[in-house]
């Protein structure tokens, strides 16, 4: 019916990530907090991470869509990825997002790319662990976020090239990336049917970096504005076919990666919430001693207990979404439920932790940083409202154009 224990394999994932988190991510994250800047590209964290040869499981989407042949043996990939995501986020979310690798740009190339593209973009840049490299994923523009159909970055065919023109905003690792998967439209009047994805390589003339954003949190992670000014991208860098139908089918496939990334992102939120929570719990342990408790102490304990059960429930939603994926069952509903629930539970946990810690919490980076970091989890990878629309469509026949 239900088993929440970790077997040796999952425990191993957890322990490795715990060590990486404690030894590498936490110090790097605190460093970034101190400077107020994203971790520089030559930060030793990145080579250390590369040398460990670990991956976050993001790039492992299945080609040809989410469904599997019946009877296919269950995988452990999604559950491992979820455990790793929570544990690494526990130590430092900003540094986690800054880790080298293809990032969110991995899945579209993995799923839509041809063999040559996968070699050029997923293998070659990442071959040498001593030279960290990043990929990035760019749909969002200043005037188009949730409503992806509104993107205005234009792509026009010209001989062996596409000419891209427009700007992108909020791109994680966008300035340091060797390449960025850029979504552009060949005909804005077609909405999503006009969208095409291009791999734009750094150094392509006309492709440049705008502002590095100053954010509430996730300081270690770089969030960049990008611009494309009549930027000529070779046809070989188009992902997933030129014709509308082909491209549309491709994007549908690419959307299936949300079924993994949403629970992963939700699990990261849980990790941040747990981080602040455990710090507050430890302080309360030191301060309160044993029962009987004073009235104020009881109030504090109640806040901790309330936050704890919400976080535990959120984790179970993430685990269940991952378990379904591992068992090759459709999990879009479960993934969105996790993504709706976890950010709110985690924000509440960080806020409760601040209540518990009093004024000392406001200047304790292990607590207040979590509060600032976690807010964005209700915003990126599909806002909470967008997740509710996904759920309403699947469960209550909510119309698609809503």
């Amino acid at each position: 019916m239900i088993d929440t224990t970790l077997d040796a394999g999952f425990r191993n994932v957890l322990l490795i990530m715990r060590q990486v988190g404690r030894d590498l991510l936490r110090p790097a994250g605190l460093e970034a907090e101190a400077t107020g800047e994203p971790l520089p590209v030559d930060h030793p964290l990145f080579v250390s991470w590369n040398r460990m040869g670990l991956s976050l499981g993001l790039a492992q989407g299945r080609r040809g869509g989410g469904e599997a042949a019946p009877g296919q043996a269950p995988s452990r990939m999604a559950r491992s990825a979820i455990l790793a995501a929570e544990e690494l986020a526990f130590w430092d979310q900003g540094a986690l997002l800054a880790l080298p690798g293809p990032g969110l740009g991995g899945p579209p190339i993995q799923l839509l790319g041809n063999e040559d593209q996968r070699r050029r973009f997923l293998e070659e840049p990442f071959r040498d662990p001593e030279r960290p490299a990043w990929g990035a994923y760019a749909t969002t523009e200043s005037a188009a976020g949730s409503d992806v159909a509104r993107i205005r970055t234009a792509a026009r065919r010209d001989g062996d090239h596409y000419v891209l023109h427009g700007d992108k905003m909020f791109i994680t690792n966008g300035a340091r990336a060797s390449w960025v998967v850029v979504f552009a439209t060949v005909d804005a009047s077609l909405g999503r049917a006009g969208h095409r994805a291009f791999v734009v390589e750094r150094g392509t003339p006309g492709f440049g970096v705008g502002r590095i954003e100053k954010k509430m949190g996730l300081t270690a992670s770089e969030t960049a504005g990008l611009f494309l000014e009549d930027c000529r991208v070779p046809v070989e860098n188009l992902l997933g076919g030129e014709r509308g139908e082909e491209a549309k089918a491709g994007f549908k496939t690419a959307m299936a990666t949300f079924d993994l990334t949403r629970p992963m992102v939700a699990a990261m939120a849980v990790g941040i919430g747990r981080s602040a929570w455990e710090r507050a719990r430890d302080l309360a342990r030191e301060a309160f001693g044993a029962a009987p408790y004073a009235a104020r102490e009881l109030g504090v304990l109640d806040r901790l207990a309330t936050a704890r059960r919400r976080l535990d429930a959120a984790r179970l939603l993430c685990w269940r979404a991952a378990w379904r994926m591992d068992h090759h069952e459709r999990n879009t509903v479960e993934a969105s439920m996790a993504k709706v629930h976890a950010p709110a539970a985690a924000l509440a946990a960080t806020s409760a932790a601040l209540d518990v810690c009093g004024l000392a919490g406001v200047v304790d980076p292990r607590v207040e940083r979590c509060y600032r970091d976690v807010k964005v989890f209700d915003i990126f990878e599909g806002t909470g409202e967008v997740q509710r629309i996904v759920l309403a469509r699947r469960l209550f026949g909510y119309p698609s154009e809503g």
Partner: protein, 342 residues
């Protein structure tokens, strides 16, 4: 290993419960409530199916099902009629824990009408109990088991009377009021047993709360996709659609939390899960009535009854007030959330 697999055997049990619910409970839900009792034939049928003794050891005539499976089966029954498990089970919850002691086994072997109550408002001192339990969802009482922070006590032949007033919900269970004036109370065990008894009661209540709330939500989801206002089904107005989506998410979260707590068996975790489930169920049934507007307020619709039944369920065994307290008092010693040995 992180696993959510429902085995074929469990699937079979769940569908038996669901079928019994749809065929035997749901159609007569209102008449049973009106009569404030279940007919003998139904009681018999229920017990024949083995639904009344899910958790008891086989030696005592039970099915010895694991706690999470009990939760799921009772949820299924409660979806069709939230009062049914309490009204049809020969012995109320707490008995699986009691069966771990010889005195408790003796009590269960008598198999006469009894109930477990939390001794709120009752003082047990020097082998004597004093106080009043305002309402127990039973038809009669040969014995009463009281649990408080210190231990568990058995009171034989307590003085009881049928409750005259109509309770808010769970009316089909009947209802008794108990008055204890210096009644002899024999100790069955200490604080540890009390915690286990209470945990069992909370899992039981939690299962019924979940089933009832899930059913109310399902009714609201169906109704709002048919009812049209301002040019579209009301479920397709975003304000309502988001509430329905939240209810679905919260119910799933609550179910997982309760089943996980049942599988792990830490009393404090069960208390936390019970508090969580109670909060979710109360919210979901109220929102479900709201989604039907004036119609939801009428006895024509089951959401009306679910809202009352859930409120009664939420008051049993100290309710969320007590479970919130217990969860809070043990939070500093709770096992680590991930990676603990258990």
């Amino acid at each position: 290993m992180i696993d959510f697999q429902v085995t074929e055997e469990e699937e079979g049990l769940l569908s038996t419960a669901a079928r019994f619910g749809e065929e035997r409970l749901r159609p007569a839900e209102r008449p049973h409530e009106e009569a404030r009792r279940y007919p003998e034939a139904l009681v018999h049928e229920y017990r024949e199916l083995g639904l009344g003794t899910l958790g008891l050891p086989e030696a005592l005539g039970g099915a010895a099902l694991a706690a999470p499976v009990q939760v799921a089966v009772r949820s299924e029954l409660a979806a069709a009629d939230p009062a049914a498990p309490l009204g049809l089970d020969p012995l109320g919850p707490g008995c699986v824990a009691l069966a771990s002691t010889p005195a408790g086994r003796a009590l269960i072997a008598e198999a006469r009408e009894g109930a477990v109550a939390v001794a709120e408002g009752i003082r047990v001192e020097g082998g004597r109990a004093r106080g009043r339990v305002g309402w127990l969802p039973r038809g009669g009482l040969h014995w009463l088991v009281l649990a408080d922070d210190r231990g568990v006590y058995r009171v034989d032949a307590p003085r009881w009377a049928p409750v005259a007033a109509r309770p808010c919900g769970l009316r089909a269970c009947g209802g008794v009021e108990v008055v204890l004036e210096d009644a002899p109370a024999e100790s069955l065990g200490g604080a540890d047993l009390a915690r286990q008894v209470l945990a069992e009661c909370r899992l039981y209540a939690g299962a019924l709360l979940l089933g009832a709330a899930r059913d109310a939500h399902a009714a609201a989801a169906r109704y709002t996709q048919e009812r049209v206002a301002f040019g579209r089904p009301i479920a397709h107005h975003q304000g309502l659609a988001f509430q329905l989506a939240d209810a679905a998410t919260d119910l799933e979260a609550a179910r997982l939390l309760l089943e996980a707590a049942a599988s792990r068996g830490h009393a404090a975790e069960v208390a936390g899960a019970h508090a969580y489930v109670t909060e979710v169920a109360l919210r979901v049934v109220e929102r479900s009535v709201q989604a039907l507007g004036g119609h939801g307020y009428l006895q024509d619709h089951r959401v009306e009854k679910r809202m009352r039944d859930v409120r009664s369920l939420a008051s049993l065994w100290g309710g969320a007030v007590l479970s919130e307290r217990d969860a809070a008092l043990s939070v500093l010693d709770a096992p680590e959330a991930v990676g603990d040995a258990s």
